[in-house]
Symmetry: C2
Subunit: 104 residues, 2 copies
């Protein structure tokens, strides 16, 4: 076994690689990626998201919480509903990268 320094040589520590894996995990579930992609249009409330991606409210709420914990979306109350939006400029870039990949 080599040590931690090996990772550093190329610029990423082991810890950072784990962080990266966690980031990509956010995009690796079909419900979550649909939610993120749905929010490309701009802010939407939970009901709208559910309709757009055809998933039930509870499942969507659970995943929104996961995405929020990962700081990829933010939310605010607006009257009776809660509106969500992308909270990270990289989301679109990362999905775009993946898009380029699968389109070849």
């Amino acid at each position: 076994m080599r040590d931690r320094a090996d990772y550093m040589l190329k610029g990423l520590s082991e810890e950072e690689l784990l962080e990266l894996a966690d980031l990509f995990k956010m995009f690796s579930d079909s419900t979550r990626i649909k939610i993120l992609y749905d929010l490309f249009d701009g802010e939407k409330n939970v009901t709208e998201i559910c309709e757009d991606i055809d998933m039930n409210q509870s499942a969507v709420s659970h995943q929104l919480k996961v995405l929020k914990t990962a700081k990829l979306v933010r939310s605010r109350r607006e009257g009776k509903s809660i509106v969500y939006a992308l909270d990270d400029d990289h989301v679109k870039t990362i999905i775009a990268m993946g898009k380029e990949h699968i389109e070849e």
Copy 2:
């Protein structure tokens, strides 16, 4: 529920989103991302990879198979050993995107 066309409006079909999720899944596991990152250096055989990332041979072989099925790595025999290499130009780009993200 809306239909498939909604996804198309923004350029990705539901099917493509599922493909994307599968792609990101490859980067979402710590063992796999370590393997991919290890291969940034160039070709390596299985034993070297195991040493570099400190995982046992069987686990590494299993994940190499997953990565190969996803066409992210390729392999060839070289004497007694099998050498693996990145098989996709996008791997580095995608990881680089993620890197930018976590570095902020």
